[in-house]
């Protein structure tokens, strides 16, 4: 089964259970990369349906302070894209994994080689925050060939024509950015997120998940009433940073994820 097909199957199963998807984000290399398998294990056990693994980049312009700091810690620990892929080759994660990051990482690795290697180690797709459809012909071809899903971002500022293209070209799901801004926990889910999701759903049957600023079970619950899933990043990254050194960190992460997951079933 290709990565795309695995993601399709995941959303289909969720629909069958009348649940939204809980999509969890963590930075590879924060905590140290050798703990990533345990982190993924705890996320999956807690109930995450899909996990996005952040590939740290030195200049993360789409990220707020929490993920920036996490990326820098990961880079200081010497985390490289090669080491991340190597680590994933030894993990058998029960939920689909996506790699999330910035285009220069892929470009430097070699797009063809990156996609091939990612697919080999069981990654289902990618999310590139600074890759917009009109620049990405080559990447679309490469990811299609390797079976990787190409999750595209849609923003509240995207024009109808852009939403057409995004809905048509995205695979796996469309990442609806809840607000103009960078990643980071916020107090509420803005009304424009709902509008964006319905605009996207009117265009294609690709699932739509909402992220940026989603940090509490209430947000997840709200979002799952109008979208296919909710994406939680900064909250989990901050939690791992605060609790990662405690002996019970895995249980604590599982509990947090379980609380977030429960909200997708409401």
């Amino acid at each position: 089964m290709t990565g795309r097909e695995r993601l399709e199957a995941t959303f289909e199963a969720l629909r069958g259970r009348r649940e939204g998807a809980l999509v969890a984000f963590v930075t590879a290399g924060d905590p140290a990369l050798d703990r990533l398998p345990a982190v993924l294990g705890a996320l999956a056990e807690g109930g995450a349906d899909i996990v996005e693994i952040g590939v740290p980049f030195s200049d993360p312009i789409a990220d707020g302070p929490v993920i920036q700091a996490s990326s820098f810690r990961a880079l200081e620990r010497g985390t490289t894209p090669r080491a991340i892929l190597e680590c994933l080759s030894r993990v058998d994660c029960p939920v689909p994994l996506l790699l999330m990051g910035y285009w220069n990482t892929v470009l430097r690795f070699g797009p063809e080689e990156f996609a091939t290697r990612a697919a080999e180690v069981g990654v289902c797709g990618t999310i590139l925050c600074d890759a917009i459809p009109e620049e990405m012909d080559e990447w679309f071809a490469v990811s299609r060939r390797t079976g990787l899903a190409n999750v595209l971002l849609a923003a509240p500022t995207s024009s109808p024509q852009r939403l057409d293209a995004i809905a048509r070209l995205a695979s796996g799901f469309v990442y609806a950015v809840s607000r103009t801004g960078v990643t980071g926990a916020r107090d509420e889910v803005p009304a424009e997120a709902r509008r964006l999701v319905s605009d996207l759903r009117a265009r294609a049957s690709t699932p739509v998940c909402v992220g940026f600023g989603v940090s509490k079970p209430e947000h997840v619950g709200d979002i799952c009433r109008f979208a296919d899933g909710a994406i939680v990043g900064s909250r989990l990254v901050a939690h791992l940073h605060e609790t990662g050194d405690r002996p019970d960190w895995e249980a604590s992460l599982r509990t947090l994820v379980a609380e977030l997951k429960a909200a997708t079933r409401a």
Partner: protein
């Protein structure tokens, strides 16, 4: 040669930005095209360049510097622009556009502080709210400019992330823009960034080269043999080069910051020692490691202390039209003193790199007529210079 619609210069340029920003970039590209072709916009822009900035800036012959270098040196005096550097040409143009687009808030990044000062100045004159991102390290080494910006009514936001220099100021400004894109125009201060910035900034700065070309023809009855400019992001260089690019007989030389020397790795010379990659929304030469992480830079000059470079320079390098060299901190500081003593012209540290090329062997033939773009004056660097030089 250049395809403004796609924003590519050969393979370089493009747009690598969060989706949220794309509509604003489209709007900006459209509005710029319309404005640039609009006589009333041009009239207003030209009037401001004349009456507010003080253009045309003079071309100054430098007899003593000529004697010291064995060249015929003249200098295009962007240091005499209002606020003391070429940056104001672009800041005025973009702030006029911001007004046209109905955006009342303007943000900018700055390294040496000259672009921040220029933007703060234009915002004061046009009644726009202005916030400037500046790396903490640059705030310290260019403290006079921090005060100037505040005096002009701008808010200066020190940036403590990453390397705390120009690169991170740009990152923070981009993050602000993603957040406030509906109400805010981002005035990028150099010929880098996503389309349409490299093209638009070049157009606003091209007045430097067009004026200089006319001045050379009038005074010497011929074009110079060579034109030299320092290259940070590349706005003064592309501004002075643009008019001369089709004149194949004119040698064009861009001077990057060699820092402690290219072999030391402590420099800011992506065209000399980098490789193509994506930073700040554009594909261009970049200082990066084997994993695509952007490398820290070093230069005595805050305005050149940047790991990337404008896309058009990457293209001009690849096709061999411009020769890109570098000057070390020491060479720049030496030229800084020479030009001050020989001509009574105190250049900015950035500009001192361009002058340093005049002293490098093998670049020019004896007797060549060489025009240097004096991108800015050195007042802002007096505190740093007094620490670095024992006089």
């Amino acid at each position: 040669m250049v395809v403004p619609a796609s924003g590519r210069f050969g393979p370089y340029g493009g747009r690598y930005v969060p989706e949220t920003l794309v509509p604003a970039l489209d709007e900006l590209a459209d509005e710029f095209q319309r404005a640039w072709a609009d006589e009333s916009f041009q009239d207003e822009f030209q009037r401001l360049l004349r009456e507010y900035v003080g253009r045309p800036t003079p071309l100054t012959d430098c007899p003593r510097l000529s004697e010291a270098t064995g060249l015929k040196v003249s200098v295009k005096r962007e240091d005499l622009c209002h606020t003391g550097a070429h940056k104001i040409n672009n800041a005025i143009g973009q702030c006029l556009l911001a007004k046209r687009m109905g955006k009342k808030r303007v943000i900018a990044e700055t390294g040496a502080g000259q672009h921040g000062v220029a933007t703060a100045t234009a915002c004061a004159a046009f009644d726009l709210r202005c916030e400037v991102y500046m790396g903490e390290e640059d705030c310290a080494r260019q403290e006079l400019n921090v005060f100037r910006m505040r005096l002009l009514g701008a808010k200066v936001i020190p940036v403590s992330s990453g390397t705390r220099t120009l690169k991170d100021a740009l990152n923070e400004a981009m993050r602000d823009w993603v957040t406030n894109v509906r109400t805010t125009h981002y005035v990028i201060g150099t010929a880098a960034g996503p389309h349409p910035y490299p093209y638009m900034v070049r157009q606003f700065q091209s007045v430097i080269g067009f004026e200089a070309k006319r001045q050379c023809e009038e005074r010497y009855g011929q074009l110079p043999d060579a034109v030299v400019a320092c290259v940070g992001g590349g706005s003064n260089a592309i501004g002075v080069f643009h008019a001369f690019v089709p004149e194949e007989a004119v040698q064009l030389v861009g001077v990057e910051a060699g820092g402690c020397g290219l072999e030391s790795g402590k420099h800011a010379a992506p065209l000399n020692a980098g490789s193509p990659g994506v930073l700040h929304g554009s594909y261009s030469y970049l200082m990066q490691d084997e994993h695509g992480q952007v490398l820290p830079t070093h230069s005595v000059s805050a305005g050149l202390d940047y790991p990337g470079v404008g896309a058009e320079h990457s293209y001009l390098k690849d096709i061999g039209r411009v020769r890109y060299v570098s000057a070390t901190d020491d060479e720049a500081l030496s030229a800084f003193q020479q030009v001050s003593r020989l001509e009574g012209l105190i250049p900015a540290f950035e500009t001192a790199h361009a002058f340093a090329a005049l002293f490098q062997p093998g670049l020019f033939r004896k007797g060549d007529r060489v025009m240097v773009c004096m991108s800015g004056r050195g007042d802002k660097d007096m505190v740093a210079a007094s620490r670095l030089l024992q006089l």
